[in-house]
Symmetry: D3
Subunit: 147 residues, 6 copies
Amino acid sequence: MNHSVTCTHRLVLPVDTNHHGTLYAGALLRIALEAAYITAHQAVGSGANLLLRRVLSLECYRPVPVGSMIEIRGVPLHMTRAYLVVGLLGVPLANEEGPWMDGLMGFVQVDSDGQPAPFPSELATPSTAEGEWKELGERMEKLLRVR
Amino acid sequence: MNHSVTCTHRLVLPVDTNHHGTLYAGALLRIALEAAYITAHQAVGSGANLLLRRVLSLECYRPVPVGSMIEIRGVPLHMTRAYLVVGLLGVPLANEEGPWMDGLMGFVQVDSDGQPAPFPSELATPSTAEGEWKELGERMEKLLRVR
Amino acid sequence: MNHSVTCTHRLVLPVDTNHHGTLYAGALLRIALEAAYITAHQAVGSGANLLLRRVLSLECYRPVPVGSMIEIRGVPLHMTRAYLVVGLLGVPLANEEGPWMDGLMGFVQVDSDGQPAPFPSELATPSTAEGEWKELGERMEKLLRVR
Amino acid sequence: MNHSVTCTHRLVLPVDTNHHGTLYAGALLRIALEAAYITAHQAVGSGANLLLRRVLSLECYRPVPVGSMIEIRGVPLHMTRAYLVVGLLGVPLANEEGPWMDGLMGFVQVDSDGQPAPFPSELATPSTAEGEWKELGERMEKLLRVR
Amino acid sequence: MNHSVTCTHRLVLPVDTNHHGTLYAGALLRIALEAAYITAHQAVGSGANLLLRRVLSLECYRPVPVGSMIEIRGVPLHMTRAYLVVGLLGVPLANEEGPWMDGLMGFVQVDSDGQPAPFPSELATPSTAEGEWKELGERMEKLLRVR
Amino acid sequence: MNHSVTCTHRLVLPVDTNHHGTLYAGALLRIALEAAYITAHQAVGSGANLLLRRVLSLECYRPVPVGSMIEIRGVPLHMTRAYLVVGLLGVPLANEEGPWMDGLMGFVQVDSDGQPAPFPSELATPSTAEGEWKELGERMEKLLRVR
């Protein structure tokens, strides 16, 4: 992997929950988007002006109890001149195996008029996804072929 | 289509925007989830106890200016004993052609312990997606095969 | 009734509650306003530019537990060249009779300077309120005479 | 007036605005409810356990620009053994005459089961509304007869 | 004390809580800032254009349960031509002795370009802090010397 | 420094701003608290159950424009058996020198009854603050002596 992993932490508060006392899906999606946006922003660097173009995939594996300190890791997994796909992993909660969520979100760079534009500088192509990112990378490859 | 379409309206306020004065992706995802959840809830009827299991796809086609009254249509496109996929379409804004977003979200029914459970009553299988839902239905068929 | 009913659904989340675990009145008022605003917007159609002018009446009949999927129906009950009153009904919750709330909210049309203006097109006068709207229509008639 | 006036101040932030850059009606209603609730709570004293029962009237006279420091005055205008009506006045903004809003909200006392209950101590009956409260007091008298 | 005390009341709702069911520190800080800002605004009067410059001190003494009606008192304790320090006291909750929080926040006046500016009119120097403000006034004197 | 730095990123959205289009102080304090809480949580590790005890100092040096991607660095600067002080630095914005904020926040560990308790494991005493943390560390030493 050429790019370093970006970590986002968040305390799950009652304001984020559903009536089961776990992370509400609407809040989860907003938090995941923020984690992906920050990852994409770090990868592009200064001059980044990014818009969400698509969610390729987002899976919710386990409920997240209120009071949890969650961590979402993000890494760029695919990159063209003006489009970037971020992989996301919800780091396993205490006493659990496997991530509580994972996802793939694609962002485009836009200019000041909101029109698609190349990234401000050439970005290194991410190498093949490895380790904990392997499965997500493979899913992305399949999904990129579908569209 | 056996199921009627569920419509969700929302006024886009400054609280929902990014610094470009358009609908922020984090707010868009939360609003889309709510529209999908309401659609799924209507389809399942009383006894519904649903959790978001996955976002199969969500596409953002056009920025949505602050002050817009948006409408998201939802319809169940796939259904098994305990799993349901909702299709979403953001109805074209004034003076625009084509939806500003579309999406596919899958929900599971759970019992009071949060464990997967069959729906409280048997649901009619949606017929093949037609009209404005055709394209989304075809994308869903491909995506269901990927996983 | 010449106008069709507009339905607004909402899942009551902990973020919307008071410390009794039921819908907080401040959240209820905001949700009711949104339902009324959407109803008025649908009735006026494109070119609508509406401001809340008054709440003629809003009654809270029953507490709404967290986790409820609520539905508010709205319909225009009174209309002049530049002023419109929307009736609201909170559809009875499971196992309850009678609405959990009802209300009457009046909106004015304004031009781009925020000055009162006629509606962009002539609107059909609502016929006398009937069915579930009868009582609310009668209350409105009395209240319109008070002011 | 036997009861002292309760003042509530609030800075109007972008989070509270509509797309015209003025106080959004949904935020206004929530803020007005909070001001009324605090007024009622002060009047009843310790042991207060209040629920909004109705909005008898709420009028919006002028838009409130973002950045305004608003002040809402509240006073109990009517009181029975278990029901209390609060009058509200939005203190005129700089360079304006007349309040930007006024309103009348009725609260009930409930016991720990949420059932109507008498107030914990006998409350002084408010004397006839005078001064800036006169007009609102007269409107209330008419509205109390309507219901 | 030349300046009158400004009181801010707030009902602690689930939206403001942590997972222990008490006021979340992030919400507490925002509420305290608002109370201090309102106090400073009242002291400076019309023409006030204030920015938070520093928190000199903020102490949290006791958890505040959801459902509490809290009161924060604020008073200007120090004033120069363009800088003002507000003292804050969280009025003891029912059945408790001593404040649940206190604090000292410093604000600067700025002109329309955001540059430091003198206050619009000369403000009375607060006399030595007395009564319930004595301890906070002494802490402030020590802290002003540290910087 | 024995402890690694914890970074928190955040996109400043309109929901976070004041009417000048910059980060509102109330939002800044909440974001700073979250960054400090995450830092403290990382330092204590699993078993952390932390409450904010005090803000020793928080300085706002420069306004932060809407749309900024901000980064707050946090590090434990002081530690006893049950109390921990976190230092915070707002990483300079593009084209600016010096942090836009810094701060010092103290947290206590509590047991399940909310009573002060020792940390679950012995924590390394932070070495003397160096580099960009030097000034903040010195300010902390002075402030710890004041109280």
